[in-house]
Symmetry: C2
DNA sequence: ACCTGAACACCGTTCAAGT
DNA sequence: ACCTGAACACCGTTCAAGT
């Protein structure tokens, strides 16, 4: 126990910080509290992270990896649902990833993870030719906006719906899919 | 000058806080700094706001009023663009309004302002009957997601596009409008 | 190389005291 | 009724010092 940190303090801090984030929220996530839970002094984290922002960026990068893994499991038509389920299952993580706290351009891994999403989507819509980037952007925006607005509680129906928020989201996405089918048949 | 605060310290604090928010970002917005700029002691704000959260909620409510005013100026078909231009013009305010910092259910005015948006949209889509709530949700989600992702820098094209982010957004929204027209003609 | 303890400059919030 | 100043419990960050 006394030799717990044989070089893995960095991982221990990330794990502690992740628990604080998910259970208490971003506001409660301090380096000092993470250090406390890892059983080290408040100055120890600075051997592994230059500042709090960097710890948050690593936590967000973990989130992108998790999201990417979830989406890879899905068939093309179910990716939107996978995105939404991730947001509903990890609301605090999702907000850290997309809440605008982190300046993406300062952290290379973050930007790469975000772009990965977009590029995959463009491939899915590849059949549309020049319009693929626009269709991919629209699809991502729709699903992302839906997740954000549901998390913020902006759709009363999403809460009262039988089956919960996921059922509401499924309905909304379904209604758009109808429009897309109509377009194809035209 | 010495009698500057003849009962309007509350407004002065909101104005100072608004400037900090837009210029330095939410992270730099402390009650103490707002008090400093208003020329009062750090404890004075507590006569007008129970805590920092409440000041932030009032700032967000101001943002919703501004957004609503902008959208009322627009024709039905241009509302999405108005939403986007608001987000691009007031990125920090937009993030405060939708970043998930504030629990909407704790602040009645905030919830009312948010619901106002959604109800207006349902009227716009009223011709769709039972599907109006779903279509309204989809439209809001699309525009909101687009604004959020552009602000976070997730679309490289949006930055490099001639005409800037607004031009990119216009293209994306235009590509969706095509789909809707095809649906109607079917 | 990695961690500790003291130190500094900030916060949010409370409260007795002043006008 | 409204504001001030001191006070408390937190932070992020730095740095000399220890192992």
């Amino acid at each position: 126990m006394t030799t717990y940190h044989h070089g893995d303090l960095r991982s221990a801090l990330l794990q502690a910080a992740g628990q604080i984030l998910e259970k208490e929220g971003l506001g409660a996530l301090s380096l000092r509290e993470a250090a406390r839970r890892a059983g080290v002094s408040h100055a120890a984290p600075y051997r592994h992270f230059p500042d709090r922002e960097r710890l948050l960026a690593d936590l967000a990068a973990q989130g992108f990896e998790l999201l990417n893994a979830e989406l890879r499991k899905r068939a093309e038509g179910e990716m939107g649902l996978g995105y939404l389920e991730f947001a509903l299952a990890h609301p605090q993580r999702f907000r850290l990833m997309f809440g605008g706290q982190l300046s993406f351009n300062d952290y290379a891994e973050l930007r790469a993870a975000g772009e990965g999403r977009y590029e995959d989507l463009q491939e899915v819509f590849g059949s549309l030719g020049d319009d693929a980037p626009l269709a991919a952007a629209a699809a991502w925006a729709l699903v992302h906006g839906l997740a954000s607005l549901i998390l913020d509680g902006h759709f009363a129906q999403a809460q009262h719906e039988s089956g919960g928020a996921a059922a509401f989201a499924k309905k909304v996405l379904g209604s758009v899919r109808v429009a897309r089918a109509a377009q194809r048949s035209a």
